[in-house]
């Protein structure tokens, strides 16, 4: 019998792959497809037979055959033994069993997640339409619907029933809440004490396809599981009828990346149902559900797993898929170490992008032009891939500066994978600007998800542990990048433009009285010269580059703000963009910037200064009044170590320790939210108070918060001569010289603006 439908979920079970398919009539059905994992071994035939006999004696291997496949690095066809493993559990053990054989045998394809392998083989993908030949609940054959493709615009996405699971009155640290809320199809259940039976009834009644939670992974589900144990009742989270043991994988862990520590909560995945934790998904946070599904489709990774992994995992999966389709063996251990280099080679090659320090000040007649997806485009057009850079078969010196060879005979896996992604992203961006207004947000989310995959594709090229990584490929990309940036700069300068600032793939240029057509012509010239599309990001009415926080005469990249002609503000590095700044300060700065959004030019900006100073005063009074809500003063910082491991008692460390002291667990990489009570207090316990321990009677350090407010104002007005000193004077200048009377009723009297009473 033929079944047509969309693939909803899949997971391995013994020697089968379980598939849940939502057929066209809306019914979700469970099927089994016998599926035995395979891996490959290369070496002397005697050794290979030894290996096979050892595995089959242990009842792990079911059979073998000889086959020919392509070896990645050399591009040569080699003969390998294809060994079929009995079931998914034994496949998962291969990385433990095989190392003892590695001296004699080279292994391939031994650690690829099985759902992905299954999808690569059958060429279907999550939420994709497929056609299956079935008998009862057993699949005999499955293939994609011929009209289906990840590259087209998916018109009729099926309706999935979504249930929301969250806690009410969660404060910043996610602990201490009042009630649990379940919502589905307009019905809502709120429970202050957890009633396991009620949850089960709700779940059984609605039978949702998707459970969307806030902190389900970190706190809600662990809590509910323990309640289930306590009451000896189970909730049917899974739809899978077979009594599978629940695996919480991966376990929660803290990790260190780019100088910061993060915490990843353990993943609670369901079988036959999606659990997406909005707070434990990078991709959801960046691009919503549409982004998660988009990547799941492209990468052939089951949706709930995709929600919990990184864009890097997605792009790697696409590369693995490409290798699979091209009949290329997937290396197990990372094989290509760095080639030996002289010190000079290293000096020349080991560089990143170019950053031209900005000129400090505020300017008019500024345009910003950006290369679109510079690094991935370089990889695609110059055929940069780990196996193509420094290939053995060709001799040229295509890479600038270092002069590495790039293969002319083979198209690399990485460029092959990137090409269609780049094309699709360009199309999605266009649709996000010009397409059906109702769908623009969706297109934008999808292109954002693709952006993240593209960004990580470059990083993985240089990552020591990446399967498809090779440092010389990474170096080649940055070399082409620097070359392109310099070419762009030269073209701009030839046309009389001044370079204010440039950073890797963006340039800010200035010329008095230029016309927009001139810039578009420039972009055209640059695109032709470099092969990467250069586009106009915008023309500014005015633009300010801010100095470093430590030294007001020292320029620094990524601290600026400007007003585009279309009325939008672009800002980097300012207080309101910083996640650790208190909401009140952020709000103050945002309002100051809003004052500027109607200005036409620098002169206009200057005329708005009194209004901005008014705002400084307004918020200054709010702080002095003592009326500000605690939540508005919350500072949120991540801790980098265990709370008690801190040697210096910074405010953040003290706050984290206070939480530990009352039994609230907090891991390195998690955020602590706290209020500064008295930063200079001799009693360290009185310096800060973390949420949720903050009470209505807790006072705050007015001076400290005023400093933050003044600093935020300085960021806006520094180029008009208003530094911290002058701004502090402005604040004080509006106060009565005599001290205020005791008690709450005394108001700070204002000299010039009676409406502030």
């Amino acid at each position: 019998m033929e079944i047509r439908g969309r693939l909803f979920d899949l997971y391995p079970l013994e020697s089968s792959m379980i598939l849940w398919i939502k057929s066209e009539d809306g019914r979700l059905r469970r099927f089994e497809d016998p599926f035995r994992p395979r891996f490959y071994a290369q070496g002397k035939k005697t050794n290979l037979f030894d290996l096979f006999h050892s595995l089959s004696a242990g009842r792990r291997a079911a059979g073998y055959q000889w086959t020919r496949k392509e070896e990645l690095w050399s591009g040569d066809e080699v003969e390998v033994m294809e060994i079929e493993i009995v079931d998914s559990e034994y496949y998962a053990q291969l990385p433990r069993i095989l190392p003892q054989w590695e001296e004699r045998i080279t292994f391939y394809n031994c650690d690829i997640p099985l759902p992905q392998t299954y999808l690569y083989e059958k060429r279907i993908f999550p939420t994709g339409r497929c056609i299956a030949e079935v008998e009862g609940n057993r699949i005999f054959e499955i293939h994609p619907d011929p009209s289906e493709s990840v590259w087209i615009d998916d018109e009729d996405v099926p309706d999935l029933r979504v249930m929301e699971l969250r806690a009410l009155n969660q404060n910043g640290s996610g602990r201490g809440w009042r009630s649990l809320v379940l919502e589905c199809e307009g019905y809502r259940v709120e429970m202050e004490t957890i009633d396991v039976g009620e949850i089960e009834r709700f779940l059984k009644h609605f039978d949702p396809d998707v459970i969307l939670s806030d902190d389900g992974d970190a706190s809600l589900l662990p809590l509910l599981f323990s309640e289930e144990k306590k009451w000896k009742t189970s909730i049917s989270w899974d739809r899978e009828p077979y009594p599978l043991k629940r695996q919480i994988h991966p376990k929660g862990r803290s990790y260190f990346s780019y100088g910061r520590t993060y915490y990843r909560a353990p993943a609670h995945l369901f079988l036959g149902r999606w659990h997406i934790d909005r707070r434990n998904s990078f991709i959801y946070g960046e691009s919503g559900m549409e982004g998660v599904v988009e990547l799941a489709r492209l990468a052939k990774i089951p949706v709930q797993r995709m929600a919990r992994t990184s864009p890097g995992t997605a792009i790697t999966s696409m590369q693995l898929d490409q290798a699979f389709q091209d009949n290329i063996l997937i290396p197990w251990r990372k094989g290509e170490p760095e080639r030996f280099k002289t010190a000079w080679d290293l000096l020349v090659a080991d560089k990143g992008g170019l950053v031209f320090q900005p000129k400090l000040g505020i300017f008019e007649d500024v345009a910003e032009i950006d290369f679109a997806s510079m690094y991935p485009t370089m990889m695609a057009i110059h055929n940069i891939s780990p196996e193509t850079v420094l290939c053995g078969c060709c001799e040229n010196h295509r890479v600038p500066e270092a002069g590495y060879t790039i293969c002319e005979k083979r198209k690399g896996i990485v460029p092959k994978t990137l090409h269609p992604i780049l094309t699709r992203r360009t199309w999605l961006k266009k649709m996000a600007k010009e397409g059906d207004p109702e769908k623009r947000e969706i297109y934008n989310r999808k292109q954002t998800a693709l952006k993240w995959m593209l960004v990580t594709s470059f990083g993985y090229l240089g990552y020591r542990n990446a399967r498809f990584g090779r440092i010389e490929a990474h170096e080649a990309v940055t070399a082409f990048g620097r070359e392109s940036l310099l070419q762009a700069k030269e073209i701009c300068e030839e046309e009389g433009f001044e370079l204010l600032h440039a950073i890797t793939d963006s340039l800010w240029i200035r010329k008095k009285g230029f016309r927009e057509e001139e810039i578009l012509e420039l972009c055209q010239k640059i695109s032709e010269a470099t092969g990467i599309t250069m586009s106009l990001e915008g023309i500014y009415r005015w633009m300010a580059f801010l100095p470093s926080k430590g030294n007001p005469e020292s320029p620094v990249a990524n601290r600026y703000f400007g007003l585009f002609q279309n009325g939008k503000i672009k800002a980097r590095g300012l207080s309101f963009r910083r996640g650790d700044m208190p909401p009140l300060i952020q709000e103050a700065q945002v309002r100051m910037i809003e004052v500027l959004s109607e200005t036409k030019n620098m002169e206009d900006f200057q005329s708005k200064i009194p209004e901005i100073l008014d705002l400084l005063l307004e918020y200054g009074l709010k702080l002095k009044d003592g009326q500000t809500k605690q939540e508005d003063l919350a500072i949120g910082k991540r801790i980098s170590q265990e709370p008690n491991a801190y040697k210096v008692d910074s405010l953040t460390a003290l706050a984290a320790q206070q939480l530990e002291d009352v039994g609230i667990e907090i891991h390195p990489g998690e955020k602590v939210r706290y209020v500064i009570k008295d930063a200079e207090s001799k009693d360290k316990a009185e310096r800060v108070k973390p949420f949720p321990l903050v009470g209505p009677d807790d006072t705050y350090d007015v001076k400290k918060y005023l400093e933050m407010l003044v600093k935020a104002t300085e960021e806006i007005l520094i180029h008009f001569g208003y530094d911290m000193k002058r701004l502090r004077k402005e604040l004080k200048g509006f106060e009565e010289p005599s001290p205020p009377a005791a008690g709450r009723d005394s108001r700070v009297r204002v000299k010039r603006f009676p409406f502030f009473y």
């Binding site: 010190a343 000079w344 290293l346 000096l347 020349v348 080991d350 560089k351 990143g352 170019l354 950053v355 031209f356 320090q357 990083g459 240089g462 990552y463 020591r464 440092i471 990474h474 620097r482 310099l486 440039a502 030294n551 005469e553 020292s554 320029p555």
Partner: protein, 91 residues
């Protein structure tokens, strides 16, 4: 991200550290000028990155000379203007 060689901005910082003793041996009013010299070198870090010369101090020196040349040109033209004005005043 697989970097072995220090980024030039960090190399600059290292050079500043290496001149610590020299700085300490200067009078206080002279120290700030030394600091300004190294700050001037920071303005042209990207050229230092691209050139990747083996002796960072050469790159620093030429960046400082560059800034001095700019200052000299600016000052000369200012003087010319002032002399011009003075000349007009007198005649």
């Amino acid at each position: 991200m697989g970097r072995t060689v220090l980024p030039f901005s960090r190399v600059l910082e290292q050079e500043v550290q290496e001149w610590r003793k020299f700085r300490r041996g200067l009078r206080k009013e002279d120290q700030q000028f030394l600091d300004r010299l190294f700050e001037e070198a920071r303005l042209h870090v990207q050229a230092g990155v691209y050139a990747s010369r083996p002796w960072p101090f050469e790159t620093i020196l030429i960046s400082v000379l560059l800034e001095h040349e700019k200052a000299l040109v600016e000052l000369r033209s200012q003087i010319k203007i002032l002399e011009g004005q003075k000349g007009e005043g007198e005649s």
